[in-house]
């Protein structure tokens, strides 16, 4: 059958197809409408919003809502804080996951099942059950209110997931490659660095992406730990401003828009890795 006849046959078989398509389009519109409305009103002047409401096209592009808000909260600083934290956590957590998984998945050290159960449970823990001791300990170590504490904590939390996932990947690591490395006289560390890491690079890239985005989006622990203005990350800086008296409709949309844009950017950059990863992470 040629494609045209298949299409024709399909058309005959599915008379309701445009109804289904329209229903889906309406649903899609409902899902993205809130984000569109935010974008629309972020570039509106307060007077324009008051006069014409949330759905009108802006009379003119009014950037000053965004610019004013950006300067008021020193948004560049928050972006930098978020970036430093997320990037460092992603690198360190991948590293820690690799070391753990090398011992558990390839080395099969004694008691590995119990270590894996531990990392699984660590994954499930709500952060509330860790927060107060962490808060107390970091205060006594003078690490409170610094990005450093958040980086350490999230490196460990993210690597619990990474270890769990990567151990099952490394358990299936081709033995021939390890044997070949051993024949070449490579030691444990050399084998890890020269064979295991390069071969598992795609999985490590997925982990890196996850850790970066997850850390970027984290709210609870950064809210507790990063109290001073200069140390806040993007979600904390935006989250604590809610209910602030200076926040009117257009300023709020402006703040939401500059919170959404970096996330969109990462989504576009990482999209391929992500769609592959969401499924890789799920079916262990």
């Amino acid at each position: 059958m040629t494609t045209t006849t298949v299409a024709a046959a399909n058309r005959r078989r599915y008379p309701a197809r445009y109804i289904v398509l329209v229903v889906l389009l309406v649903l899609l519109l409902l899902v993205i409408a809130p984000l569109l409305v935010v974008a629309l009103n972020a570039v509106k002047s307060p007077a324009d919003y008051a006069g014409n409401g949330p759905l009108s096209i802006p009379e003119s592009l009014h950037w000053s809502g965004i610019v004013d808000f950006w300067q008021r909260v020193d948004f560049s600083r928050k972006l930098l804080n978020s970036f430093i934290t997320s990037f460092t956590v992603a690198v360190l957590a991948v590293l820690l996951s690799v070391l753990n998984a090398y011992a558990l998945g390839i080395g099969r050290v004694r008691g590995r099942v119990w270590f894996l159960v531990f990392f699984l449970v660590a994954n499930l823990l709500p952060q509330e059950v860790l927060v107060y001791p962490l808060y107390y300990l970091s205060k006594s170590l003078h690490l409170y209110d610094s990005l450093f504490s958040i980086i350490i904590i999230f490196t460990v939390i993210q690597s619990a997931f990474g270890t769990y996932l990567l151990s099952s990947v490394y358990a299936e690591f081709p033995t021939e490659l390890l044997d070949a490395a051993a024949v070449d006289g490579a030691g444990r560390f050399r084998t890890l660095w020269r064979v295991v890491v390069p071969v598992s690079k795609p999985t490590l890239a997925v982990l890196f992406t996850f850790f970066f985005i997850w850390t970027w989006n984290e709210f609870f622990l950064p809210l507790v730990f990063l109290v001073s203005n200069a140390n806040q990350t993007v979600p904390v800086a935006l989250g604590v401003l809610q209910g602030d008296r200076q926040m009117d409709a257009t300023t709020t949309s402006a703040s939401a828009l500059i919170g959404i844009l970096p996330a969109m950017l990462f989504f576009l950059i990482f999209q391929r890795t992500l769609t592959r990863g969401i499924t890789a992470g799920a079916i262990k």
């Binding site: 001791p133 979600p235 009117d248 709020t252």
Partner: protein, 302 residues
């Protein structure tokens, strides 16, 4: 499973576990043990804790707010786990087995990305978006209702105890829907197209194929989605903090926010620790029950 390897091979890997074990001890094990310990004390966070035995737990079981917060979680599980999973399953099947076939796979993937979009935005920012849309005086929703002449429907969505939790539930369905859609669509790619063709030849309609092939074969993803979304519902904090702070008059109070209040606002660290310990036990037990169910189901299916 992997083949047995010579014993000599296994020696010397232990050192690679040392950094991970030390870090986990400091950040996870010690704090966890401390929280459980503190839950048996009265402590304001300053000075030394005073041992009170199970007093915090007995108080907890008589505290209305505690029961209310778990009641709210049940509704949030409906909104964050049950509804998105079922709706997501239907959407994924329609996209995979209908839209992709008739209009082409590109349409299906555009829909998938669109539904997934809310998941990409930071939780706190989704709170800001909806906090503004649902705001009683300057919010977009009430303004829109006014404009189309449905002003009688406008409400103080987040400020009225009667509607606040339902509004939050609506927001959570919006937020969660994309995750099951993406998961189920990727699960569907495992299914042999010949199965569908065979069902077609047998005269099975779309709904029958959905029920007997799609739902049956997608079970592994179904469990994963259900367990991760349920746990996410139990842990919910960010949206509640930004949207309602547990209010109005505790109408949207959830366990994690209840614990946060006790830790950092009321300086009742012992009580807060008891709340988070109960929440943790609940989550871990639930996860293991799910895992058991999944294993049993797989053995039966195999």
């Amino acid at each position: 499973m992997s083949r047995p390897r010579p014993g000599a091979r296994h020696a010397g890997y232990g050192v690679y576990l040392i950094p991970g074990v030390l870090a986990s001890l400091a950040v996870i094990v010690v704090p966890l043990v401390m929280t459980v310990g503190i839950s048996f004390t009265r402590w304001s966070g300053i000075g030394s804790p005073e041992w009170v035995g199970v007093e915090n737990y007995t108080r907890l079981f008589h505290d209305e707010r505690f029961w209310a917060s778990f009641g709210h979680i049940l509704l949030l599980i409906l909104a964050m786990a049950v509804v998105p999973t079922l709706l997501g399953l239907l959407l994924a099947a329609v996209l995979f087995d209908y839209i992709a076939k008739i209009f082409g796979p590109r349409w299906a993937s555009v829909f998938r990305s669109g539904f997934y979009l809310p998941q990409v935005v930071p939780v706190a920012v989704t709170g800001i978006v909806w906090g503004w849309i649902l705001h009683p005086s300057y919010g977009a929703l009430n303004r829109i209702l006014d404009t189309v002449g449905l002003a009688s429907l406008s409400r103080n969505w987040l400020g009225d105890p009667k509607y606040a939790l339902y509004s939050v539930m609506g927001v959570m369905i919006w937020f969660q829907l994309g995750y099951p859609v993406v998961m189920f669509m990727s699960g569907l790619q495992r299914i042999d197209p010949e199965l569908y063709e065979a069902a077609d030849l047998d005269g099975a309609g779309w709904w029958q194929r959905f029920r007997h092939i799609t739902v049956y074969l997608i079970r592994p993803e179904f469990y994963v989605v259900l367990v991760t979304t349920t746990i996410a519902a139990l842990k919910i904090f960010g949206q509640i903090f930004v949207l309602t702070r547990g209010g109005p008059s505790n109408a949207t109070l959830v366990p994690s926010y209840f614990a946060y209040q006790n830790f950092f606002q009321k300086a009742q660290v012992g009580y807060g620790s008891a709340i988070s310990t109960v929440l943790t036990v609940l989550i871990v037990v639930l996860a293991f029950v799910f895992l058991r169910m999944q294993n049993r189901d797989q053995r039966k299916g195999a």
